[in-house]
């Protein structure tokens, strides 16, 4: 078979070519697998938002300047949410909240469930209708799972870093107002609990929660920026400097393991994803 001698790179490109000719009328006209097929040839779909000069200076740019976001053209909201979900799971820090994406997906879920309710109300005898209803319901359950897991991951990190969030302004820009309110309530509750149960009986010098004893980690848990993560480059990245004798320039499709602090900027701009 001549097709079996085709390399993996070609089969992925062919896979993508086949899907782009299939009958689809979604908002994203192009193939969705382009976003999921990691090693396929994406050059024709890359948005050339960053010129070469911009990308060289972008690495040094502080977070406060709104970063240029790189989003692959054919990514559906669901695949975007899946990517953000995985990023949130692997990152040691809290990533920016995707409020609009979540809101639009929740809206979509509600519309689909309403449509299913409507169809179930009618006595539809055809087998085809039953299958369609069942498939739509299955998909709704899958999307709900991803949404729930994403929100739970963020909630876990927020509760873990609750006291740090109260003191740090940059991290407050990345969480929603509801999450901030929850963090402040959580921090106050735990502080009061510790105070009432133990600390009020201790001598004055030891009854505070913000001193830093030697040889022990500080009492306010900060996100650990140096924790290593596996990154996958979605496009050619500007070079990253590790220390005096090591720089790495990642090409499209490169997979690497490195501390989170080095790729935080690239992650926020969407150049890489965590896997």
């Amino acid at each position: 078979m001549s097709r079996s001698s085709v390399s993996a790179m070609d089969w992925e490109a062919q896979f993508k070519a086949d899907t782009s000719t299939s009958i689809r009328s979604g908002k994203n006209g192009k193939s969705r697998t382009g976003a999921l097929a990691l090693d396929s040839d994406n050059e024709d779909q890359d948005i050339t938002m960053a010129s070469a000069s911009e990308s060289n200076s972008a690495r040094a740019r502080p977070v406060s300047v709104a970063p240029e976001l790189y989003i692959q053209e054919d990514e559906s909201p669901l695949s975007q949410l899946t990517k953000h979900w995985m990023n949130e799971r692997h990152a040691p820090d809290i990533l920016p909240a995707q409020e609009e994406l979540l809101a639009s997906l929740l809206d979509h879920i509600r519309r689909q469930s309403d449509a299913v309710q409507l169809l179930r109300g009618e006595p539809s005898a055809s087998e085809e209708e039953h299958i369609r209803i069942m498939l739509v319901q299955m998909e709704v359950e899958r999307v709900k799972f991803i949404v729930r897991s994403y929100v739970r991951t963020r909630l876990f990190k927020i509760e873990k870093f609750a006291r740090f969030i109260m003191t740090d302004a940059t991290i407050q820009t990345r969480i929603t107002t509801a999450e901030r309110a929850h963090a402040s309530r959580h921090a106050h509750l735990t502080d009061r609990h510790f105070h009432n149960s133990v600390l009020q009986s201790l001598p004055e010098t030891q009854s505070h929660l913000d001193d830093t004893p030697i040889f022990m980690p500080p009492m306010i848990t900060k996100p650990d920026e140096s924790r290593p993560v596996f990154v996958h480059a979605l496009r050619d990245c500007p070079p990253i400097r590790f220390h005096e004798d090591l720089t790495l320039e990642m090409k499209h499709g490169h997979i690497s393991l490195m501390p989170f602090s080095f790729i935080e900027q690239l992650l926020l701009r969407g150049y890489v994803e965590l896997i």
């Binding site: 097709r3 079996s4 085709v6 390399s7 993996a8 790179m9 089969w11 062919q14 896979f15 899907t19 299939s22 009958i23 689809r24 009328s25 994203n28 969705r32 999921l36 097929a37 669901l78 899946t82 995985m86 799971r89 692997h90 979509h108 879920i109 689909q112 087998e127 085809e128 299958i131 369609r132 069942m134 498939l135 739509v136 299955m138 998909e139 899958r142 799972f145 991803i146 897991s149 739970r152 991951t153 909630l155 876990f156 509760e159 650990d224 924790r227 290593p228 596996f230 590790f242 220390h243 090591l246 790495l248 490169h254 997979i255 690497s256 393991l257 490195m258 501390p259 080095f262 896997i275």
Partner: protein, 190 residues
């Protein structure tokens, strides 16, 4: 509390399968279904005997109800896997495999074995080859452990499930090396 302990440091294989089953796969439908709008896009209409592309989870579901035949992806064949296995054994470095080959092959082979074993030929041989591939790659990733340092470690062509397997140990090891180096350099500077 919000996230169980088992999920805090790594991803579970069923979750990886969830992500992998969003990929599109080709099927030959046995039943006609109109165009339907799903959250991930609009699929259909399914008109037998024309081939169609639908997500993997949908295809497996229809197959379990005997409403379609799944066309096996190109790489899930004896010849392709055998050539990759030979490459894996003879050359250093990992051979190029589809990123989620472990998840997709597990899902497809499981559905073959229990129902209608007609779409993928010689499932036993394929399972055997996949197992050999997995072991060969695991041996190589163990060798890669030597190269962990505080900077970065490049692993080309490693696949999703394999990364998940080595993740806990590699992350922990590199974290400790980073801390050691940081403490050492902090001591050097008075």
């Amino acid at each position: 509390m919000s996230l169980p302990q088992s999920l805090r440091t790594s991803v579970t294989p069923p979750e990886l399968e969830l992500i992998a089953s969003q990929q599109l796969i080709e099927i030959i439908p046995l039943i006609a279904i109109e165009k339907t709008a799903f959250i991930s896009g609009a699929f259909g209409p399914l008109q037998p005997p024309r081939k169609a592309q639908i997500p993997l989870w949908m295809a497996i579901n229809l197959k379990l109800k005997k409403k379609c035949h799944i066309v096996a992806p190109e790489w899930l064949s004896v010849e392709f896997l055998q050539s990759r296995l030979d490459e894996e054994i003879n050359e250093p470095g990992f051979s190029k495999l589809p990123f989620r080959y472990a998840e997709v092959s597990k899902l497809l082979l499981d559905v073959q074995v229990t129902f209608a074993p007609d779409d993928i030929q010689s499932t036993d041989k394929i399972r055997y080859l996949l197992k050999d591939l997995r072991e060969a790659r695991q041996a190589k990733s163990r060798e890669g452990l030597d190269q962990i340092n505080r900077g970065e470690l490049s692993l080309s062509n490693l696949c999703s499930m394999e990364i998940n397997e080595i993740r806990p140990f590699f992350v922990h090891a590199m974290g400790i090396l980073t801390h050691l180096h940081r403490d050492a350099s902090a001591e050097d500077q008075p």
